[in-house]
């Protein structure tokens, strides 16, 4: 008897352990998302909240059904009609993709150098990569304003060195957005890359050399293919949040820098159009689900 008691308690405990992450996702992700979907199907109204129907549960089940029948996909249709939205989406994806590529280009050598550094140095180097996180993200982006603005540190330096005779107009511009994204997201590329490169068995490179492969070729034939899981992880960790980035284009970008985060913000706070901004958010999520699924697929392949 004691045995069955214990095993049933055991299974209940196991159920609880599995339930916690699901509960977390349901409460903090799925429920808010459903609310956003609901708002995206509503229409604007001068009310509190500023949309209708508000799905007032106090009116009873019958009334609720009447309200649900008012839902429409007009907001989604609207997104396809105004070029601003799809241009914002496209521009966001483009900026995120180019940034991801630049970050990979800069991050790979750094991660490689760290993984090949002496063992006693690696922890320190890793700390240095993580160190910027100790300062608020917002403050770090503001710091870039101080560096890039016309009378900022960069222009002062270049002017005093005589490299330029007139200050560069980097801020605000799309270039500044690239600088901001590359700087802010670099650690998210370096960390997974470092993790895979550090695990790489160096005897494989010796074996390649032994079979007649010079070091540079060995990098492309052995090191790089074996670090692909890290490359893929790093790229998605950078690309996905960069697409929806708001703070960087808002602070560093010019009026011509189109990014969906900025568009969404303007829709929500300036236009106070909750339903349309909700539709923008839902479509953004749908766009990002594709790379997320690709990412998961790649992870599954790597672990096989």
């Amino acid at each position: 008897m004691a045995l069955t008691d214990r095993s049933s308690r055991h299974s209940r405990l196991r159920w609880l352990v599995v339930a916690i992450p699901y509960l977390w996702l349901i409460v903090l992700f799925l429920a808010p998302f459903l609310i956003v979907v609901k708002i995206s199907l509503s229409t604007t109204a001068i009310a509190m909240p500023p949309y209708t129907p508000a799905l007032d549960l106090t009116a009873g089940i019958g009334a609720l059904w009447e309200q649900i029948k008012e839902f429409s996909f007009d907001n989604y249709v609207f997104l396809t009609e105004d070029a601003l939205y799809w241009e914002s989406y496209l521009s966001s994806v483009k900026i995120a993709a180019i940034s991801t590529f630049l970050i990979l280009l800069i991050g790979y050598p750094i991660a490689y150098g760290m993984a090949r550094a002496k063992k006693e140095w690696r922890t320190t180097l890793l700390m240095l990569v993580i160190l910027p996180f100790w300062t608020s993200f917002l403050i770090r982006v503001y710091a870039w304003i101080g560096i890039l603005k016309p009378e900022g540190l960069l222009n002062q330096l270049l002017l005093s060195l005589g490299v330029i005779s007139e200050p560069l107009n980097i801020l605000p511009s799309t270039l500044a957005v690239y600088i901001g994204i590359v700087y802010s997201y670099l650690p998210f590329m370096i960390l997974p890359l470092y993790a895979t490169l550090e695990k790489l068995d160096e005897t494989l490179l010796e074996a390649a050399a032994d079979l007649g492969c010079p070091p540079i070729q060995a990098f492309w034939k052995i090191t790089f293919p074996l670090s692909l899981p890290g490359v893929v992880a790093g790229c998605f960790l950078v690309f996905i949040p960069a697409v929806g980035e708001f703070v960087i284009p808002d602070l560093l970008g010019g009026s011509d820098t189109l990014m969906i985060g900025k568009t969404l913000w303007a829709e929500f706070f300036s236009n106070r159009d909750w339903p349309v901004s909700s539709a923008v958010a839902v479509v953004l999520l749908a766009i990002l689900v594709v790379p997320i699924m690709l990412f998961q697929n790649a992870q599954k392949k790597a672990s096989e």
Binding site: L204, E206, A207, A208, D210, P214, P225, L226
Partner: protein, 389 residues
């Protein structure tokens, strides 16, 4: 993976027996180490070492970990450069030649198979690197796959193979380019005992058939004895003895070698006579006089050791009839029954223990000699050797 890699090797046996270029003063060494020293910081891995290895030889570097044997091999492969001295291959100085330009290939202890390539691509890697035409690569890879009997596994990735299969892929990959020298770094360490013994004989057959020079690094003395034409026993960056397996076993030149290879009994004493080609050693404590038909370079009055293998010691309940025979007496302290043999540990009056191995030629029902019996241990004059160091 049972079954021999080759059966033709057997007929080549007599050729192999006659093979001894190291005794021929006219023979040109294939691999030469000339006063090679290698230091890592303040650690000396290889200490002013000179060594000749001949073409078609199966040469073993044997020693405990940290003795410098792996460093020596890595200097042939080019992964380490000597701090001073020269490494020559076929008359050419290898110093400064990067590993990817050396005509040597290595089979790694960890196999070092490329995990993102299948078996076929692993074996083809070196051939592609040489720019060999595609049809030739295909022929050669298929040939290698057949040699190691892995034709059916060509499309498998390394992680889908067993340890023995991985080992075969590694061997095929290192042989594919027909290297002048094949280097084997503890190649069988990861295999279980039975598979290891089988593979040892396959390696010998392969080496004889291909006519290549093999250099093997191992800490397993049985492995070295089985496969090698000659063995170099190393200690602290120096070679203690280079000889054939039989010489190493029967004529060790030092207590270190005698103790490292097989089991040995050592009796300490002084040389009291060297007359008539017979060396006499007065053993400390027991007063026993051991007569040996060989002097090991010892002179009258030298402090020396008498070394005799346990299987060359006979054990008896009665004293020898001929008083001139070498004998010591003691009590049976312990008996280790191993099935095929029994090892008797006999304690002498001095407290020293001498081991005697007796072959169990009949089924053991009752031991004629058992614990606490007073016994005599005897051996012939050429049963052991005198060692001075």
């Amino acid at each position: 993976m049972a079954g021999k890699l080759l059966t033709a090797g057997k007929s080549l046996g007599p050729i192999r027996r006659a093979f001894a270029p190291w005794n021929d003063p006219a023979a040109k060494p294939f691999i030469q180490f000339q006063n090679v020293t290698k230091t890592f910081g303040d650690f000396t891995a290889v200490d002013d070492l000179s060594l000749n290895i001949y073409e078609r030889e199966f040469f073993a570097l044997l020693g405990p970990s940290g003795c410098g044997k792996t460093t020596l091999m890595r200097m042939i492969a080019g992964f380490e450069e000597p701090t001073s001295g020269h490494v020559m291959l076929d008359g050419q100085d290898l110093v400064g030649v990067p590993p990817y330009r050396r005509p040597t290939n290595m089979m790694f202890q960890s196999y070092a198979l490329f995990p993102h390539m299948n078996v076929w691509d692993n074996i083809a890697f070196g051939l592609k690197q040489d720019g060999m035409p595609k049809p030739d690569i295909a022929t050669r890879v298929d040939e290698m796959l057949a040699l190691v009997k892995l034709e059916k596994f060509a499309k498998r990735k390394p992680h889908q193979l067993s340890g023995g299969q991985k080992q075969r892929v590694a061997l095929a990959r290192s042989l594919a380019k027909k290297p002048k020298v094949l280097l084997l770094d503890e190649p069988l360490g990861a295999l279980d005992k039975k598979l290891r013994e089988e593979t040892q004989f396959e390696l010998i057959d392969l080496q004889v058939k291909l006519g290549m020079t093999f250099v093997i690094v191992t800490h397993d003395q049985e492995e070295a004895m089985t496969v090698a034409d000659r063995i170099a026993v190393m200690d602290q960056g120096k070679i203690v003895q280079i000889a054939t397996p039989a010489e190493i076993y029967e004529q060790p030149n030092s207590r270190y070698v005698a103790d490292f290879i097989g089991d040995i009994n050592l009796l300490e004493g002084h040389i009291s006579s060297t007359e008539g080609g017979v060396t006499t050693l007065d053993c400390d404590g027991t007063g026993a006089k051991v007569q040996v038909s060989q002097d090991g370079g010892a002179k009258l009055g030298d402090h020396a050791w008498f070394a005799v293998r346990p299987e060359k010691v006979a054990i008896s309940l009665s004293p020898p009839a001929d008083p001139s025979v070498n004998a010591v007496t003691g009590e049976v302290w312990d008996i280790a029954y191993l099935g095929d043999v029994s090892i008797y540990h006999v304690r002498l009056a001095t407290g020293a223990t001498v081991k005697a191995t007796i072959t169990n030629t009949t089924r053991l029902v009752e031991r004629p000699i058992t614990w606490d019996d007073k016994v005599w241990l005897t051996w012939s004059r050429d049963g052991g050797v005198v060692l001075t160091r």
